[in-house]
Assembly symmetry: C2
Protein backbone atom coordinates (compact mmCIF):
# COMPACT_ATOMS: atom_id res chain seq x y z
CA UNK A 1 0.00 0.00 0.00
CA UNK A 2 1.27 3.49 -0.84
CA UNK A 3 1.90 5.86 2.03
CA UNK A 4 -0.91 8.09 0.78
CA UNK A 5 -3.41 5.20 0.88
CA UNK A 6 -2.09 4.09 4.27
CA UNK A 7 -2.66 7.59 5.64
CA UNK A 8 -6.10 7.85 4.06
CA UNK A 9 -7.15 4.50 5.53
CA UNK A 10 -5.96 5.52 8.99
CA UNK A 11 -7.72 8.86 8.74
CA UNK A 12 -10.94 7.13 7.73
CA UNK A 13 -10.78 4.85 10.77
CA UNK A 14 -10.45 7.92 12.98
CA UNK A 15 -13.16 9.90 11.21
CA UNK A 16 -15.57 6.96 11.44
CA UNK A 17 -14.80 6.43 15.11
CA UNK A 18 -15.41 10.09 15.92
CA UNK A 19 -18.59 10.12 13.83
CA UNK A 20 -19.90 7.12 15.81
CA UNK A 21 -18.85 8.72 19.08
CA UNK A 22 -20.78 11.87 18.21
CA UNK A 23 -23.73 9.81 17.02
CA UNK A 24 -23.89 8.06 20.40
CA UNK A 25 -23.64 11.34 22.26
CA UNK A 26 -26.27 13.26 20.30
CA UNK A 27 -29.41 11.69 21.85
CA UNK A 28 -28.12 12.45 25.36
CA UNK A 29 -27.93 16.15 24.44
CA UNK A 30 -31.29 16.72 22.82
CA UNK A 31 -32.74 19.39 25.13
CA UNK A 32 -32.68 23.04 24.05
CA UNK A 33 -29.36 24.52 25.09
CA UNK A 34 -27.69 21.11 25.24
CA UNK A 35 -28.47 20.75 21.55
CA UNK A 36 -26.71 24.05 20.85
CA UNK A 37 -23.72 22.87 22.84
CA UNK A 38 -23.65 19.59 20.94
CA UNK A 39 -23.84 21.42 17.61
CA UNK A 40 -21.03 23.71 18.62
CA UNK A 41 -18.52 21.10 19.70
CA UNK A 42 -19.45 18.57 17.02
CA UNK A 43 -18.98 21.30 14.38
CA UNK A 44 -15.33 21.61 15.37
CA UNK A 45 -14.74 17.93 16.09
CA UNK A 46 -16.45 16.47 13.02
CA UNK A 47 -14.99 18.70 10.35
CA UNK A 48 -11.69 17.31 11.33
CA UNK A 49 -8.38 18.37 10.07
CA UNK A 50 -5.51 15.99 9.49
CA UNK A 51 -6.16 13.79 12.58
CA UNK A 52 -2.41 13.46 12.95
CA UNK A 53 -2.57 12.66 16.68
CA UNK A 54 -4.95 9.69 16.46
CA UNK A 55 -3.11 8.54 13.34
CA UNK A 56 0.09 8.45 15.41
CA UNK A 57 -1.73 6.15 17.86
CA UNK A 58 -2.84 3.89 15.01
CA UNK A 59 0.63 3.70 13.47
CA UNK A 60 2.11 2.95 16.89
CA UNK A 61 -0.37 0.07 17.27
CA UNK A 62 0.80 -1.23 13.89
CA UNK A 63 4.41 -1.06 15.01
CA UNK A 64 3.44 -3.13 18.04
CA UNK A 65 1.32 -5.57 16.04
CA UNK A 66 -1.93 -4.63 17.77
CA UNK A 67 -5.37 -4.08 16.20
CA UNK A 68 -6.33 -0.46 15.57
CA UNK A 69 -9.55 -0.72 17.62
CA UNK A 70 -7.52 -0.95 20.80
CA UNK A 71 -6.05 2.52 20.43
CA UNK A 72 -8.86 4.39 18.66
CA UNK A 73 -10.48 5.60 21.93
CA UNK A 74 -7.16 7.02 23.10
CA UNK A 75 -6.57 8.70 19.75
CA UNK A 76 -10.06 10.16 19.84
CA UNK A 77 -9.58 11.43 23.41
CA UNK A 78 -6.41 13.23 22.33
CA UNK A 79 -8.28 14.64 19.34
CA UNK A 80 -10.99 15.99 21.68
CA UNK A 81 -8.31 17.77 23.71
CA UNK A 82 -6.64 19.11 20.56
CA UNK A 83 -9.99 20.32 19.20
CA UNK A 84 -10.92 22.12 22.42
CA UNK A 85 -7.55 23.88 22.39
CA UNK A 86 -8.17 25.10 18.83
CA UNK A 87 -11.63 26.42 19.72
CA UNK A 88 -10.24 28.37 22.68
CA UNK A 89 -7.14 29.46 20.70
CA UNK A 90 -9.29 31.05 18.02
CA UNK A 91 -11.24 33.21 20.51
CA UNK A 92 -10.86 36.99 20.12
CA UNK A 93 -9.03 37.21 23.46
CA UNK A 94 -6.53 34.57 22.31
CA UNK A 95 -5.35 34.46 18.66
CA UNK A 96 -8.53 36.09 17.33
CA UNK A 97 -8.87 33.92 14.24
CA UNK A 98 -12.09 34.10 12.23
CA UNK A 99 -11.24 31.05 10.16
CA UNK A 100 -10.13 27.54 11.01
CA UNK A 101 -9.39 25.06 8.24
CA UNK A 102 -11.02 27.39 5.74
CA UNK A 103 -14.32 27.52 7.63
CA UNK A 104 -15.66 30.01 10.18
CA UNK A 105 -14.08 29.50 13.61
CA UNK A 106 -16.37 28.01 16.26
CA UNK A 107 -17.12 31.36 17.91
CA UNK A 108 -18.02 32.91 14.55
CA UNK A 109 -20.67 30.20 14.12
CA UNK A 110 -21.99 29.82 17.67
CA UNK A 111 -20.91 32.94 19.56
CA UNK A 112 -18.05 33.34 22.01
CA UNK A 113 -19.90 32.10 25.09
CA UNK A 114 -20.88 28.84 23.41
CA UNK A 115 -17.35 28.43 22.02
CA UNK A 116 -15.88 28.71 25.52
CA UNK A 117 -18.38 26.09 26.74
CA UNK A 118 -17.84 23.80 23.74
CA UNK A 119 -14.10 23.79 24.49
CA UNK A 120 -14.74 23.17 28.17
CA UNK A 121 -17.07 20.28 27.37
CA UNK A 122 -14.58 18.60 25.01
CA UNK A 123 -11.81 18.94 27.59
CA UNK A 124 -13.91 17.07 30.15
CA UNK A 125 -15.41 14.55 27.70
CA UNK A 126 -11.93 13.40 26.71
CA UNK A 127 -11.45 11.95 30.18
CA UNK A 128 -14.90 10.41 30.22
CA UNK A 129 -14.19 8.74 26.88
CA UNK A 130 -11.06 7.11 28.30
CA UNK A 131 -12.79 5.82 31.45
CA UNK A 132 -15.68 4.45 29.41
CA UNK A 133 -13.58 2.63 26.84
CA UNK A 134 -10.79 1.20 28.97
CA UNK A 135 -12.81 0.36 32.10
CA UNK A 136 -12.16 -3.38 31.73
CA UNK A 137 -8.50 -2.62 32.54
CA UNK A 138 -8.75 -0.12 35.42
CA UNK A 139 -5.00 0.29 35.93
CA UNK A 140 -4.40 0.95 32.26
CA UNK A 141 -7.37 3.33 32.12
CA UNK A 142 -6.15 5.23 35.14
CA UNK A 143 -2.68 5.49 33.68
CA UNK A 144 -4.09 6.89 30.43
CA UNK A 145 -6.24 9.45 32.27
CA UNK A 146 -3.26 10.50 34.34
CA UNK A 147 -0.89 10.79 31.38
CA UNK A 148 -3.43 12.62 29.23
CA UNK A 149 -4.17 15.06 32.05
CA UNK A 150 -0.46 15.75 32.46
CA UNK A 151 0.04 16.14 28.71
CA UNK A 152 -2.96 18.45 28.34
CA UNK A 153 -2.66 20.54 31.51
CA UNK A 154 -0.40 23.15 33.07
CA UNK A 155 2.63 20.89 32.71
CA UNK A 156 1.77 20.18 29.09
CA UNK A 157 -0.28 21.79 26.34
CA UNK A 158 -1.97 24.53 28.38
CA UNK A 159 1.38 25.37 29.98
CA UNK A 160 2.87 25.72 26.50
CA UNK A 161 0.09 28.07 25.49
CA UNK A 162 0.68 30.16 28.60
CA UNK A 163 4.38 30.35 27.76
CA UNK A 164 3.40 31.36 24.23
CA UNK A 165 1.04 34.10 25.46
CA UNK A 166 3.76 35.60 27.65
CA UNK A 167 6.49 35.20 24.99
CA UNK A 168 4.71 37.26 22.37
CA UNK A 169 6.96 39.86 20.84
CA UNK A 170 10.21 39.17 22.67
CA UNK A 171 13.25 37.40 21.20
CA UNK A 172 13.92 33.85 22.38
CA UNK A 173 16.77 31.41 21.83
CA UNK A 174 16.42 27.92 20.38
CA UNK A 175 16.36 26.23 23.81
CA UNK A 176 13.37 28.32 24.81
CA UNK A 177 11.63 27.61 21.51
CA UNK A 178 12.20 23.88 22.00
CA UNK A 179 10.87 24.10 25.55
CA UNK A 180 7.79 25.96 24.36
CA UNK A 181 6.99 23.44 21.64
CA UNK A 182 7.74 20.43 23.80
CA UNK A 183 4.90 21.66 25.97
CA UNK A 184 2.55 23.23 23.46
CA UNK A 185 2.46 20.59 20.73
CA UNK A 186 4.97 17.92 21.75
CA UNK A 187 3.04 16.71 24.81
CA UNK A 188 -0.02 15.60 22.81
CA UNK A 189 2.09 13.87 20.14
CA UNK A 190 3.90 12.09 22.94
CA UNK A 191 0.77 10.79 24.68
CA UNK A 192 -0.70 9.74 21.29
CA UNK A 193 2.35 7.54 20.74
CA UNK A 194 3.32 6.44 24.26
CA UNK A 195 -0.25 6.00 25.48
CA UNK A 196 -0.85 3.74 22.48
CA UNK A 197 2.35 1.85 23.26
CA UNK A 198 1.15 1.34 26.81
CA UNK A 199 -2.20 -0.02 25.54
CA UNK A 200 -0.31 -2.37 23.20
CA UNK A 201 1.89 -3.64 26.03
CA UNK A 202 5.09 -2.22 24.58
CA UNK A 203 8.15 -3.22 26.62
CA UNK A 204 10.56 -0.76 28.26
CA UNK A 205 12.94 -0.75 25.31
CA UNK A 206 10.14 -0.17 22.82
CA UNK A 207 8.79 2.67 24.97
CA UNK A 208 12.25 4.25 25.05
CA UNK A 209 12.55 4.03 21.25
CA UNK A 210 9.07 5.44 20.72
CA UNK A 211 9.80 8.23 23.17
CA UNK A 212 12.85 9.20 21.08
CA UNK A 213 10.71 9.05 17.96
CA UNK A 214 8.02 11.20 19.57
CA UNK A 215 10.52 13.89 20.52
CA UNK A 216 12.04 14.04 17.03
CA UNK A 217 8.59 13.96 15.42
CA UNK A 218 7.34 16.85 17.52
CA UNK A 219 10.35 19.02 16.77
CA UNK A 220 10.31 18.32 13.03
CA UNK A 221 6.58 19.10 13.00
CA UNK A 222 7.24 22.43 14.61
CA UNK A 223 10.33 23.42 12.66
CA UNK A 224 8.53 22.56 9.42
CA UNK A 225 5.72 24.84 10.53
CA UNK A 226 8.17 27.61 11.40
CA UNK A 227 9.90 27.29 8.03
CA UNK A 228 6.55 27.40 6.23
CA UNK A 229 5.51 30.50 8.17
CA UNK A 230 8.88 32.20 7.62
CA UNK A 231 8.99 35.52 9.42
CA UNK A 232 5.29 36.17 8.90
CA UNK A 233 4.12 35.64 12.44
CA UNK A 234 5.13 37.03 15.80
CA UNK A 235 5.40 33.63 17.50
CA UNK A 236 8.70 32.37 18.84
CA UNK A 237 10.24 30.33 16.04
CA UNK A 238 13.25 28.10 15.44
CA UNK A 239 13.87 29.89 12.18
CA UNK A 240 14.05 33.25 13.93
CA UNK A 241 16.16 31.79 16.76
CA UNK A 242 18.81 29.97 14.68
CA UNK A 243 18.26 31.01 11.05
CA UNK A 244 16.82 29.04 8.14
CA UNK A 245 19.93 27.02 7.26
CA UNK A 246 20.57 25.84 10.80
CA UNK A 247 16.88 24.99 11.21
CA UNK A 248 17.02 22.79 8.09
CA UNK A 249 20.19 21.06 9.33
CA UNK A 250 18.58 20.38 12.70
CA UNK A 251 15.59 18.87 10.93
CA UNK A 252 17.76 16.55 8.86
CA UNK A 253 19.52 15.32 12.02
CA UNK A 254 16.16 14.82 13.78
CA UNK A 255 14.82 12.82 10.83
CA UNK A 256 17.79 10.49 11.13
CA UNK A 257 17.17 10.13 14.86
CA UNK A 258 13.50 9.35 14.26
CA UNK A 259 14.35 6.64 11.72
CA UNK A 260 17.00 5.13 13.98
CA UNK A 261 14.55 5.03 16.89
CA UNK A 262 12.26 2.81 14.78
CA UNK A 263 14.91 0.34 13.61
CA UNK A 264 14.09 -2.44 16.08
CA UNK A 265 10.45 -2.50 14.92
CA UNK A 266 11.40 -3.46 11.38
CA UNK A 267 8.81 -3.15 8.64
CA UNK A 268 5.89 -2.87 11.07
CA UNK A 269 7.00 0.70 11.80
CA UNK A 270 6.79 1.71 8.15
CA UNK A 271 3.81 3.95 8.82
CA UNK A 272 5.59 5.91 11.55
CA UNK A 273 8.71 6.12 9.38
CA UNK A 274 6.82 7.35 6.32
CA UNK A 275 4.87 9.87 8.38
CA UNK A 276 7.92 11.60 9.78
CA UNK A 277 9.60 11.52 6.35
CA UNK A 278 6.48 13.08 4.88
CA UNK A 279 6.64 15.86 7.48
CA UNK A 280 10.29 16.41 6.65
CA UNK A 281 9.57 16.63 2.94
CA UNK A 282 7.21 19.54 3.52
CA UNK A 283 10.26 21.65 4.34
CA UNK B 1 -19.44 21.74 68.82
CA UNK B 2 -21.62 24.53 67.42
CA UNK B 3 -22.56 24.34 63.74
CA UNK B 4 -20.55 27.47 63.10
CA UNK B 5 -17.39 25.92 64.56
CA UNK B 6 -18.06 22.66 62.75
CA UNK B 7 -18.30 24.54 59.45
CA UNK B 8 -15.18 26.60 60.22
CA UNK B 9 -13.18 23.47 61.04
CA UNK B 10 -14.28 21.78 57.84
CA UNK B 11 -13.45 24.85 55.79
CA UNK B 12 -10.00 25.04 57.35
CA UNK B 13 -9.29 21.41 56.42
CA UNK B 14 -10.20 22.21 52.81
CA UNK B 15 -8.25 25.47 52.70
CA UNK B 16 -5.16 23.78 54.14
CA UNK B 17 -5.43 20.89 51.70
CA UNK B 18 -5.70 23.24 48.73
CA UNK B 19 -2.84 25.37 50.05
CA UNK B 20 -0.64 22.27 50.25
CA UNK B 21 -1.76 21.14 46.82
CA UNK B 22 -0.77 24.51 45.35
CA UNK B 23 2.48 24.49 47.29
CA UNK B 24 3.41 21.13 45.75
CA UNK B 25 2.48 22.33 42.27
CA UNK B 26 4.34 25.65 42.35
CA UNK B 27 7.91 24.31 41.86
CA UNK B 28 6.79 22.36 38.77
CA UNK B 29 5.60 25.61 37.19
CA UNK B 30 8.54 27.90 37.80
CA UNK B 31 9.46 28.79 34.19
CA UNK B 32 8.38 32.16 32.76
CA UNK B 33 4.90 31.76 31.35
CA UNK B 34 4.16 28.73 33.49
CA UNK B 35 4.66 30.95 36.51
CA UNK B 36 2.06 33.39 35.18
CA UNK B 37 -0.33 30.51 34.62
CA UNK B 38 0.26 29.26 38.15
CA UNK B 39 -0.33 32.73 39.59
CA UNK B 40 -3.52 33.09 37.64
CA UNK B 41 -5.17 29.83 38.65
CA UNK B 42 -3.89 29.87 42.22
CA UNK B 43 -5.28 33.41 42.62
CA UNK B 44 -8.78 32.09 41.99
CA UNK B 45 -8.33 28.78 43.77
CA UNK B 46 -6.58 30.02 46.90
CA UNK B 47 -8.81 32.96 47.75
CA UNK B 48 -11.55 30.47 48.12
CA UNK B 49 -15.12 31.21 48.77
CA UNK B 50 -17.32 29.11 50.94
CA UNK B 51 -15.87 25.70 49.86
CA UNK B 52 -19.35 24.28 50.11
CA UNK B 53 -18.66 21.40 47.70
CA UNK B 54 -15.62 19.95 49.51
CA UNK B 55 -17.39 20.57 52.82
CA UNK B 56 -20.26 18.40 51.56
CA UNK B 57 -17.69 15.65 50.92
CA UNK B 58 -16.30 16.02 54.44
CA UNK B 59 -19.74 15.95 56.07
CA UNK B 60 -20.65 12.89 54.02
CA UNK B 61 -17.50 11.16 55.29
CA UNK B 62 -18.60 12.01 58.84
CA UNK B 63 -22.02 10.51 58.18
CA UNK B 64 -20.28 7.33 57.03
CA UNK B 65 -17.80 7.33 59.91
CA UNK B 66 -14.75 7.77 57.69
CA UNK B 67 -11.72 10.04 58.26
CA UNK B 68 -11.78 13.37 56.40
CA UNK B 69 -8.44 12.72 54.67
CA UNK B 70 -10.02 10.05 52.52
CA UNK B 71 -12.37 12.46 50.78
CA UNK B 72 -10.30 15.67 50.73
CA UNK B 73 -8.75 14.94 47.30
CA UNK B 74 -12.20 14.39 45.81
CA UNK B 75 -13.50 17.58 47.43
CA UNK B 76 -10.50 19.50 46.11
CA UNK B 77 -10.96 18.10 42.60
CA UNK B 78 -14.59 19.28 42.60
CA UNK B 79 -13.42 22.68 43.88
CA UNK B 80 -10.94 22.91 40.97
CA UNK B 81 -13.79 22.28 38.53
CA UNK B 82 -16.02 24.80 40.29
CA UNK B 83 -13.23 27.39 40.29
CA UNK B 84 -12.50 26.96 36.58
CA UNK B 85 -16.19 27.43 35.83
CA UNK B 86 -16.24 30.70 37.77
CA UNK B 87 -13.17 32.00 35.94
CA UNK B 88 -14.74 31.25 32.56
CA UNK B 89 -18.17 32.50 33.71
CA UNK B 90 -16.76 35.90 34.59
CA UNK B 91 -15.21 36.44 31.14
CA UNK B 92 -16.57 39.38 29.13
CA UNK B 93 -18.08 36.99 26.56
CA UNK B 94 -19.91 35.12 29.33
CA UNK B 95 -21.36 37.01 32.34
CA UNK B 96 -18.83 39.85 32.06
CA UNK B 97 -18.23 40.27 35.79
CA UNK B 98 -15.36 42.47 36.95
CA UNK B 99 -15.59 41.29 40.54
CA UNK B 100 -15.69 37.88 42.16
CA UNK B 101 -16.03 37.58 45.92
CA UNK B 102 -15.26 41.29 46.27
CA UNK B 103 -11.95 41.02 44.43
CA UNK B 104 -11.07 41.63 40.78
CA UNK B 105 -12.15 38.72 38.57
CA UNK B 106 -9.33 36.55 37.24
CA UNK B 107 -9.31 38.20 33.78
CA UNK B 108 -9.14 41.67 35.35
CA UNK B 109 -5.94 40.59 37.12
CA UNK B 110 -4.26 38.43 34.48
CA UNK B 111 -5.92 39.29 31.17
CA UNK B 112 -8.55 37.34 29.28
CA UNK B 113 -6.17 34.98 27.48
CA UNK B 114 -4.55 33.85 30.73
CA UNK B 115 -7.96 33.52 32.38
CA UNK B 116 -9.13 31.16 29.63
CA UNK B 117 -5.95 29.11 30.07
CA UNK B 118 -6.15 29.14 33.89
CA UNK B 119 -9.67 27.71 33.66
CA UNK B 120 -8.58 25.12 31.12
CA UNK B 121 -5.67 24.09 33.32
CA UNK B 122 -7.84 23.67 36.44
CA UNK B 123 -10.36 21.60 34.48
CA UNK B 124 -7.63 19.17 33.45
CA UNK B 125 -5.76 19.21 36.78
CA UNK B 126 -8.91 18.09 38.60
CA UNK B 127 -8.69 14.73 36.85
CA UNK B 128 -4.96 14.46 37.45
CA UNK B 129 -5.53 15.13 41.14
CA UNK B 130 -7.99 12.24 41.34
CA UNK B 131 -5.70 9.77 39.55
CA UNK B 132 -2.77 10.77 41.73
CA UNK B 133 -4.56 10.48 45.06
CA UNK B 134 -6.68 7.38 44.54
CA UNK B 135 -4.23 5.34 42.45
CA UNK B 136 -3.93 2.65 45.14
CA UNK B 137 -7.57 1.77 44.35
CA UNK B 138 -7.70 1.87 40.54
CA UNK B 139 -11.36 0.89 40.23
CA UNK B 140 -12.46 3.51 42.73
CA UNK B 141 -10.22 6.12 41.09
CA UNK B 142 -11.61 5.33 37.65
CA UNK B 143 -15.14 5.54 38.95
CA UNK B 144 -14.45 8.96 40.47
CA UNK B 145 -12.87 10.26 37.25
CA UNK B 146 -15.81 8.98 35.26
CA UNK B 147 -18.43 10.43 37.60
CA UNK B 148 -16.66 13.78 37.90
CA UNK B 149 -16.31 14.02 34.12
CA UNK B 150 -20.03 13.32 33.72
CA UNK B 151 -20.94 15.84 36.43
CA UNK B 152 -18.67 18.53 35.00
CA UNK B 153 -19.19 18.02 31.26
CA UNK B 154 -21.89 18.41 28.64
CA UNK B 155 -24.29 16.19 30.60
CA UNK B 156 -23.61 18.14 33.78
CA UNK B 157 -22.29 21.58 34.71
CA UNK B 158 -21.18 22.75 31.26
CA UNK B 159 -24.47 21.53 29.81
CA UNK B 160 -26.32 23.58 32.44
CA UNK B 161 -24.32 26.64 31.50
CA UNK B 162 -25.13 26.11 27.84
CA UNK B 163 -28.83 25.84 28.70
CA UNK B 164 -28.46 29.02 30.72
CA UNK B 165 -26.77 30.89 27.86
CA UNK B 166 -29.57 29.95 25.48
CA UNK B 167 -32.35 30.61 28.05
CA UNK B 168 -31.39 34.23 28.61
CA UNK B 169 -34.35 36.51 28.38
CA UNK B 170 -37.14 34.03 27.69
CA UNK B 171 -39.72 32.87 30.23
CA UNK B 172 -39.39 29.35 31.58
CA UNK B 173 -41.56 27.14 33.79
CA UNK B 174 -40.47 25.56 37.05
CA UNK B 175 -39.68 22.18 35.43
CA UNK B 176 -37.24 23.87 33.08
CA UNK B 177 -35.68 25.84 35.93
CA UNK B 178 -35.23 22.64 37.93
CA UNK B 179 -33.68 20.92 34.92
CA UNK B 180 -31.31 23.83 34.39
CA UNK B 181 -30.14 23.85 38.00
CA UNK B 182 -29.90 20.09 38.27
CA UNK B 183 -27.28 20.36 35.55
CA UNK B 184 -25.64 23.69 36.32
CA UNK B 185 -25.12 23.46 40.07
CA UNK B 186 -26.76 20.21 41.18
CA UNK B 187 -24.34 17.90 39.37
CA UNK B 188 -21.29 19.11 41.32
CA UNK B 189 -23.13 18.94 44.68
CA UNK B 190 -24.15 15.42 43.77
CA UNK B 191 -20.64 14.19 42.95
CA UNK B 192 -19.28 15.89 46.10
CA UNK B 193 -21.71 13.83 48.18
CA UNK B 194 -22.04 10.59 46.21
CA UNK B 195 -18.37 10.42 45.22
CA UNK B 196 -17.49 10.76 48.91
CA UNK B 197 -20.03 8.05 49.78
CA UNK B 198 -18.40 5.76 47.21
CA UNK B 199 -14.96 6.42 48.75
CA UNK B 200 -16.39 5.66 52.20
CA UNK B 201 -17.92 2.38 51.02
CA UNK B 202 -21.51 3.51 51.54
CA UNK B 203 -24.01 0.72 50.84
CA UNK B 204 -26.79 0.91 48.26
CA UNK B 205 -29.38 2.15 50.77
CA UNK B 206 -27.04 4.83 52.08
CA UNK B 207 -26.27 5.94 48.51
CA UNK B 208 -29.99 6.17 47.79
CA UNK B 209 -30.58 8.31 50.90
CA UNK B 210 -27.63 10.57 50.12
CA UNK B 211 -28.83 10.91 46.54
CA UNK B 212 -32.21 12.15 47.83
CA UNK B 213 -30.40 14.53 50.17
CA UNK B 214 -28.19 15.82 47.32
CA UNK B 215 -31.21 16.57 45.14
CA UNK B 216 -33.02 18.47 47.90
CA UNK B 217 -29.84 20.29 48.90
CA UNK B 218 -29.18 21.45 45.33
CA UNK B 219 -32.70 22.75 44.83
CA UNK B 220 -32.82 24.56 48.19
CA UNK B 221 -29.43 26.11 47.39
CA UNK B 222 -30.75 27.41 44.11
CA UNK B 223 -34.17 28.56 45.29
CA UNK B 224 -32.52 30.38 48.19
CA UNK B 225 -30.28 32.12 45.65
CA UNK B 226 -33.26 33.01 43.48
CA UNK B 227 -35.17 34.42 46.46
CA UNK B 228 -32.14 36.47 47.51
CA UNK B 229 -31.72 37.86 43.98
CA UNK B 230 -35.44 38.61 43.65
CA UNK B 231 -36.20 39.94 40.18
CA UNK B 232 -32.85 41.68 39.85
CA UNK B 233 -31.29 39.37 37.31
CA UNK B 234 -32.33 38.04 33.93
CA UNK B 235 -31.57 34.41 34.75
CA UNK B 236 -34.30 31.78 34.79
CA UNK B 237 -35.52 31.61 38.37
CA UNK B 238 -37.91 29.56 40.50
CA UNK B 239 -39.26 32.76 41.95
CA UNK B 240 -40.13 34.10 38.52
CA UNK B 241 -41.52 30.74 37.43
CA UNK B 242 -43.80 30.01 40.40
CA UNK B 243 -43.88 33.18 42.55
CA UNK B 244 -42.26 33.89 45.90
CA UNK B 245 -44.82 32.13 48.12
CA UNK B 246 -44.82 28.89 46.17
CA UNK B 247 -41.01 28.96 46.04
CA UNK B 248 -40.87 29.23 49.85
CA UNK B 249 -43.38 26.38 50.25
CA UNK B 250 -41.33 24.19 47.90
CA UNK B 251 -38.24 24.94 49.96
CA UNK B 252 -39.94 23.94 53.21
CA UNK B 253 -41.01 20.63 51.69
CA UNK B 254 -37.50 20.02 50.32
CA UNK B 255 -35.98 20.71 53.73
CA UNK B 256 -38.21 18.04 55.23
CA UNK B 257 -37.17 15.61 52.49
CA UNK B 258 -33.49 16.35 53.12
CA UNK B 259 -33.84 15.70 56.85
CA UNK B 260 -35.81 12.51 56.28
CA UNK B 261 -33.16 11.24 53.87
CA UNK B 262 -30.58 11.51 56.67
CA UNK B 263 -32.59 9.73 59.35
CA UNK B 264 -30.87 6.35 59.11
CA UNK B 265 -27.46 7.96 59.70
CA UNK B 266 -28.45 9.21 63.16
CA UNK B 267 -26.30 11.81 64.84
CA UNK B 268 -23.33 11.26 62.52
CA UNK B 269 -25.24 13.16 59.82
CA UNK B 270 -25.65 16.21 62.02
CA UNK B 271 -23.29 18.22 59.83
CA UNK B 272 -25.25 17.51 56.65
CA UNK B 273 -28.50 18.22 58.48
CA UNK B 274 -27.28 21.51 59.93
CA UNK B 275 -25.85 22.61 56.58
CA UNK B 276 -29.12 22.22 54.70
CA UNK B 277 -31.03 23.87 57.56
CA UNK B 278 -28.55 26.74 57.45
CA UNK B 279 -29.18 27.14 53.72
CA UNK B 280 -32.91 27.14 54.34
CA UNK B 281 -32.63 29.78 57.02
CA UNK B 282 -31.01 32.18 54.53
CA UNK B 283 -34.41 32.45 52.87
Amino acid sequence: MSFKDHLQNSKKLVDDYIQNYLGDLEPTLSRPGLQELYKSFSYSLAEGGNRIRPILSLLTAEALNTPAEKVLPLGAAVELIHTYSLIHDDLPCMDDDDLRRGKPANHKMFGEAMAVLAGDALNTEAFFLLTKNYSSQPELALDLVSELALAAGAQGMVGGQAVDVTFKGRDVDSAEVEFLHTYKTGALFRISILGAARICNGNAYQLKCLSDYARAFGLIFQIADDIKDGNKNTEPSFVKAVGLEKAKETCAALLQQAHQALESFGDRARGLKDLVSHLYERI
